[in-house]
Symmetry: C2
Subunit: 220 residues, 2 copies
């Protein structure tokens, strides 16, 4: 069994590995809000436990065992987020920190029953997929809104940033999961994007457009 802290490391490494195959010490340190020296210590420990493969100075990768453990935590995190939003009426920008704690509660029974209670949801309040109890989930294929061209349309199905200010901002703009959007213009000057959503024309910054994930209706 892993400690609370080890679980956090595994999850962070898992998420970082979605972007780069070899996860760097500094990247982990930044995410976990600690110093690189501490990360090196923990990596050694995880390597001894067979949860990561580690070659000095070459970064880490999760072993199958480590990946399994990480996915298990991701599953718990996302199921709890669904619980908080669907049952306790939290907003999608309020759930992250609490889920960060709840994900470490260890009881297989608890999470299976929670899954059932929630109706076996397939994705969390941010559109992220929820692994099933065997750790399997469909690799969803998103396009970043920023990558769409003028005339392209699609549905908002995810966000790649979970900070409260960002999510509150989207909410205010009416850009929530499931909304249909169409790109009507891209401003040369600052790269901001003009989109049509709910029959309204709005302008969003490049920065915002980068973090909205669209399941495309196909290019125009």
């Amino acid at each position: 069994m892993q400690s609370f802290t080890e679980e956090n490391y595994l999850k962070i490494i898992y998420h970082l590995a979605e972007k780069t195959s070899n996860v760097q010490t500094n990247a982990i340190a930044e995410q976990i809000q600690t110093k690189p020296a501490s990360v090196t210590d923990m990596i050694k420990k995880l390597a001894e436990k067979g949860l990561v493969d580690y070659v000095k100075y070459q970064g880490v990768t999760l072993t199958e065992k480590g990946k399994h453990a990480a996915v298990d935590i991701v599953r718990k995190h996302r199921l709890w987020e669904v619980f908080l939003v669907d049952k306790l009426n939290f907003k999608w920008d309020e759930v992250h920190d609490v889920a960060e704690e709840l994900e470490h509660i260890r009881s297989v029974d608890l999470i299976e029953r929670l899954d059932e209670f929630l109706g076996f949801p397939k994705s969390d309040p941010h559109g992220d997929p929820i692994p099933d109890k065997n750790g399997r989930f469909a690799k969803t294929q998103f396009i970043k809104l920023i990558e769409l061209g003028i005339g392209d349309s699609g549905t908002i199905t995810g966000v790649s940033q979970h900070s409260s200010p960002f999510l509150k901002h989207l909410e205010k703009l009416g850009l929530t999961l499931g909304k249909q959007i169409q790109v009507s213009d891209v401003t040369d000057f600052d790269g901001s994007v003009e989109i049509l959503v709910a029959e309204k024309q709005i302008n969003i910054s490049r920065e915002v457009a980068k973090h909205i994930l669209i399941s495309s209706n196909g290019k125009n």
Copy 2:
């Protein structure tokens, strides 16, 4: 804010103080499954934080601040137990260990919303009262079944033992919360008690009768 460990100490001290005013080091050690020397260390720390009053060799008592913190954890523990039983269909003998972890999740918002979601329950699956958000709750007055005389009757409203084997045993005997019982005989030989429950005559050991709490219909 208190650590996970400090919270456990506060809760244990609170429960022990329900029986004896001055809580002893050894009693805490036994409950918390640690050594008396470790308890002394922790008590000193809690005293420094103003959570307990401590006089060397004289045991501890919770300060108002400490009591408040302890009641808060008890509230969380019991609300989570209600959640597990009412919403996730756990049995009353299965909830304790998980609640032991869940009680440490810190988010005021979470617990208030959970309370509301559960319909502001007044007691947990074992009949124990749930403090409101200000820490107030009615001191329920129970009589131990063992203290009833022949002919006395009442309703099962609590248990003073939460171990799974004990609770499973009660379940099997049909002795669950809310059941009406009447004492029909007390065996001289072993002190076992014959009771009438759901129109059936059953015999329970002294040991069992000691841990069943009755709200009496009045003596006969």
